[in-house]
Symmetry: C2
Amino acid sequence: MARISDVAKHAGVSVATVSRVLAGQPGVSDAARERVLVSVKALDYHPDLAARRLRSGKTDTLGLVVADIRNPYFTEISRAIEDVAYANGMRVLLCNSDEDAEKERFYLDMLRDENVAGVILSPTLSLLSRFRACDYSFPVVLVDRCAPETEADAVVLDNIDAAQRLMRHLIERSSQRIALFYGTASATGLQRLEGYHSALAAAGLTPQTRAIRPTTTEARAALIEHLREHPLPDAVVASSGLILLGLVEALREAGLRCPDDILLAGFDDQPWTRIVTPDITVIAQPTADIGRSAIELLLARIAQPEQAMRRIVLRGELITRASTSRPIQE
Amino acid sequence: MARISDVAKHAGVSVATVSRVLAGQPGVSDAARERVLVSVKALDYHPDLAARRLRSGKTDTLGLVVADIRNPYFTEISRAIEDVAYANGMRVLLCNSDEDAEKERFYLDMLRDENVAGVILSPTLSLLSRFRACDYSFPVVLVDRCAPETEADAVVLDNIDAAQRLMRHLIERSSQRIALFYGTASATGLQRLEGYHSALAAAGLTPQTRAIRPTTTEARAALIEHLREHPLPDAVVASSGLILLGLVEALREAGLRCPDDILLAGFDDQPWTRIVTPDITVIAQPTADIGRSAIELLLARIAQPEQAMRRIVLRGELITRASTSRPIQE
DNA sequence: CTGTTAGCGCTTTCAC
DNA sequence: GTGAAAGCGCTAACAG
């Protein structure tokens, strides 16, 4: 493995000059620059990143802590983040907290040890409740989850608005008893619950909610139990794509048909929601935009540590499909 | 930020002793060890990883290059790999080649620069055709894709066998004209094609195949076109979960019903295959086992660079569902 | 059992 | 415009 001194020797210059050329700094003659470049190629020289980091005290690594790597929503966001990161010459350490505050803590500590330049984080509820950007040695951008009072850069969906629009859509279609199955693990689920409540209150309807862990199996079990213990709702709604999948399984198992027996809607426009029968009305989230915005916020904060906090709120898109197809009530 | 010398001073020992304690090395008195540990806590000391790596020449970072991060198959594998990696005190740099040989090259170079301890790779077809483990400065374990002659540690499904079993399942159910839609981007698709051919040949049936890029949209377009240009097949088969999704979309669009009009089967037991109507017969891959085996192979190779190459071949599980439900022919 | 010390490879003054 | 040299923080060889 060639080192910088080898390149210097080969090019007939000092290591300082080689370093300058590599860093693209001015103050090097064209002739010297040229010779260095040739030598780098000739020796197939690659700088030692560990040494560079030690010396410069900086890293070109970002951390990304998602709550569930198997959730396509987070995968798509990750994808967008990585594309931008690598295009900017930065690497991404992807961590999966699994909605577990302890694992989250572990990864955040690890990223601190790693001396990352910044972190994009979808916090667990427990962390979010006491989150302060200043508790970290690196800049943090929150993604997907953020409380109104949180002081941090963040990119989130307008969950309350999205949930309200989804509910109004249902209410316009004569739904009176709308059951919401929402995830308790995240601020997102809670905010969607809030939108649900306000929309139902505005229409004078009685809420009917089940708090669950946001997994497919749990959602499925919850709906089956709910159907056993309560009169049949007009409509069931999931606060996330994973929960929605569980509801579909349960309805299927119960032999209930949409939209004839019951209406169904949820969040996240995952590919399968288009191919099931019936296809499902959802709030689609602009995942690529979310990811891109998050890393742009982070890169901006790294460049300008002292700038004011920014929050980007994106709007969900209501995609109407057969699962809520029913004449609109005037 | 406290440094090792601060800890040494605080504990009244030398930096060497601190280093020994931290590395868990023997040859330190209990008293000294105790004082060091106390000081580490008191000063909230965290070793500088860059310095450690520079000095020791080793990294505790692994690379994982998957062909498509949005494919649940790879996500599940990643998940298993990360769990094992972090449990062993190693970090994972996750890279997404997107089936693009150039991106793959970029990431492999980056991982080399990063001086990773090892890499788990699902190679593009173009790389696999000329792959030699010795071309890399780090150990490599292939996952999901591997040619018979490739000299490398690898964890793969027995694709030929799995495809054959799936075909025999169809043939037993009187299918005569089985159309296969397979991905050309990977060795996996090609091996499944091979199994398809041999099973059909054994039954004296004429093959009917379409080579496509392994995406949902492409699969969908291919089947629509196929239906327009050919007589209706008895059965259609997808060589991957993403392709299968496209086929479902196309059948739906064409108004064809399974299993009455046509049988349908594929690879990858993704959650949605259970909830569509009808639910779909698939070959399930043991993704968690694949991931776990891969990293175990890698860790073993890192520990024992010279040991013989090992290949782990796992068996797919045929899960029979309604999409191929039809009386069995005697 | 413990401490001293020489670098790992690079960036960055500082002097020329 | 260029080079010499001082470390970044740590590990490990060596001496005691």
